[in-house]
Symmetry: C2
Subunit: 456 residues, 2 copies
């Protein structure tokens, strides 16, 4: 652990913060066409920052969507190569009236920097750049080889980067990827994420009569598309949260006893979680599994939305012709998305009620992922984290998906260090997004130490 690097970060805190604020002032909202110019400005800002940190071969790569930014520094022969990933695009800021300060005018309050993108992911991505800058300033060179690949479409599906990674495995060759787009388990607890769930997302459409029928004239004999869909969906999962699609649990790999044991030691207050985060009358899901297991290590079936028939004010007595649901199955490591899709299609076919025709449209299918906790980069990352935070690093999983991690595994054959410094209450995608300034600086130091130790 180089105290020189820490000293450099400390003496440059103010400048780093000002640079980050400049970055945050660019409203690079990827989903809104009117912000295309801001997207271009943000990509240029990233390219300039990378150049300023001493990286080379800077490219702004046009794509069918928003540009990628590439850079590298490859002058540490014999040392491992780290591929740093981040994204410069952000979510829309509405509802604007709920922001305490304007989303694109960063404001410091109580040690937190408030702005859209402060944490997700401009602030976290910026840490990588500043860590490189610190190392170059202190050592004159980097302890490892690095590549940067930064995208501008993460909030809208990340199609361009997925294509680019698939088509350029040679150019992106690395030993490990580093992604800072996750959070600490809780403030002050150094955290590595070593597992992600995958996702099969589909639309299910049910059709009954050829058009909406009058329920007085046809009620009793005509199939009802909404009720048909209701019948079908109700068969997908029982009241205990068990998915009823045959074979769905066949390949589920349970967490190791050590991992389960480590989860049980995490600070967790179920009452507080229910009250403050879920806000319902009780938690649900499979009995015999802890909350962490249910969220991190069990497949789930969810209906994300449903629409059909008359939903305006008042009463209309139609037998609806068509109804649609958005559903997903979250996958855990070792489950094959294609197999799950096939099982779901077969199930829908078999369970479609009489008189109803159904169609399943699969929108995406990605596997769950596990990072080998014994990988040297993980060991090094855990140590760097522990040293900066002065506490043992905890290993958790994430119940959601980060598709790029799968792309790195699949196309580049490399694991990813998921080392993020956000907090559970950072309000990502919501009004008043923030990033705790202390975690921004600690993140820069931790990442610098990670590079130092990984190159040692």
């Amino acid at each position: 652990m180089s105290t020189a690097t820490d000293a450099f970060v400390q003496s440059n805190q103010e400048r780093f913060l000002e640079e980050l604020k400049t970055f945050l002032r660019i409203p690079s909202i990827s989903t809104l066409p009117e912000h295309r110019g801001d997207i271009a400005r943000a990509a240029q800002f990233v390219a300039d920052s990378l150049a300023g940190a001493g990286l080379e071969n800077i490219e702004i790569i046009p794509t069918a969507g928003h540009p990628l930014v590439y850079a590298d520094w490859l002058h540490a022969p014999g040392k491992p190569t780290v591929l740093c990933y981040g994204h410069y695009d952000v979510q829309p800021a509405d509802p604007l009236e709920l922001w305490q300060s304007p989303p694109f005018e960063p404001e410091l309050r109580n040690g937190n920097l408030y702005a859209r993108g402060a944490c997700d992911d401009k602030g976290q991505m910026h840490m990588h750049v500043k860590a490189i800058e610190a190392l170059r300033a202190v050592h004159g060179a980097l302890p490892v080889n690095v590549r940067f690949l930064i995208e501008g479409e993460e909030e809208v599906g990340g199609e361009a980067i997925a294509k680019y990674v698939a088509e350029n495995p040679e150019k992106l060759r690395a030993d490990v990827a580093l992604v800072s787009d996750t959070e600490l388990y809780a403030d002050g607890i150094p955290t590595l994420c070593v597992g992600l769930r995958g996702l099969v997302y589909a639309e299910v459409e049910a059709r009954g009569p050829v058009r909406d029928l009058h329920s007085g004239l046809f009620g009793g004999v005509a199939p009802n598309a909404v009720f048909g869909l209701v019948e079908l969906l109700s068969k997908c999962k029982n009241a205990g949260g068990k998915i009823l699609i045959p074979g769905i649990y066949d390949d589920v790999e349970p967490p190791s006893p050590e991992e389960k044991e480590s989860w049980s030691r995490l600070p967790f207050n179920e009452k507080q979680f229910l009250k403050n985060e879920v806000g319902s009358t009780r938690l649900t899901g499979e009995s015999g599994f802890s909350v962490q297991e249910r969220i991190w290590a069990r497949p789930t079936f969810e209906v994300h939305g449903v629409a059909g028939g008359f939903t305006g004010a008042g009463a209309k007595t139609v037998i609806p012709a068509v109804a649609t649901a958005k559903v997903s199955i979250r996958l855990v490591p070792n489950q094959d998305p294609d197999k799950v899709v096939a099982a779901f299609r077969e199930f829908v076919k078999k369970k479609t009620p009489k008189g109803i025709r159904t169609e399943v449209r699969v929108l995406s299918a990605s596997p769950g992922l596990k990072v080998n906790p014994d990988h040297p980069a993980i060991h090094v990352a855990a140590t760097a984290l522990s040293e900066v935070f002065q506490k043992p690093t905890v290993f958790i999983r994430l119940g959601g998906s980060i598709p790029i991690v799968g792309d790195f595994a699949h196309h580049l054959g490399i694991p990813t260090v998921l080392m993020g410094f956000g907090l559970p209450d950072d309000c990502l995608h919501s009004p008043n997004e923030k990033y705790k300034l202390d975690n921004y600086y600690k993140g820069i130091m931790t990442i610098a130490h990670f590079f130092e130790k990984y190159g040692a």
Copy 2:
């Protein structure tokens, strides 16, 4: 049967048609505020027509909504009194591009008069007025006492008339009501409707977490409002169409063997019905009951619409906080709507999945109705129909509801003769609404004969 009345109708066909066309040119769409002036014009047209037919005590009665029109002729002492009901308001005409001729420029094609309201209900209501006119012209007086009560809100719920009937039973005193807002079983088949289903209509709202949650971060432990609603609704009815709410069938009065037998003799082609009217792969519903029984004489549970969570394009992985369904239970004679509402509320309470909170909002509750086929007015109406159509009158029921019939029964204590002359393909509420001209004239004659015979 007075041939003089028929002769008068025949010799005045052209004038009657022109008058009806004038009526149809008024776009009296009750649901659109911009047509308030047209509503007033239509009410005035009705009042003028009634005056022209020789009725007295004409009133245009202001209400909280659209005006009622009242008139009477009470100079047949010792004779029964008939309360004629109809409505001068119409449904909106959109989608306009599907009309072959403009909806408010009546056009005669192939013996049919095309216009919004041609059948529902301006054309049918107009028959009552013209029958009165014919009788007065031929006999100088009417064979019975008559009252007219015409409303302008039938297509938007009919609140004003319901209130008026409840508050003015003395003023509306009559022996029987006459409503021509139904159809013939098939063209050429004289038809009386002697049963209606009632309707309990409700919204069911389900709430899970306090706000939409990320299904990656909470999937597996957080209750899902959409799935909760799906689970609940799926328990209301089984795949065989049987309603599973306890007690729901307790008071169901089966049709008499004679009525069932008469239904079995009605011309009906199930294959054609499935193909041309329902347009699905098969009919559904309770086994052991004919199609007519299922539609006319069995309670049904339908979901008219459902909404919740994310339903836009693409994928969004939320666990929805709230979901709503519109549902109804159709009632048959002898079922008590209040009892059914209570049973449904209790069922929802009991079957609400864990972690979900539900609320039932009842929007309306009206009973099913049966007209005693042995009532003298029904006998007379059946005879008048048979004579004009030269065929035996068939007795059917209607699977839908006509709330005013319930109001007449409840507040005035009188049965209703449901004698309509529309056809199943008249496209009520749809583009290209029509009324077969021959049925318009036959209707005037039949109604005139009904009055003659009822007064004899």
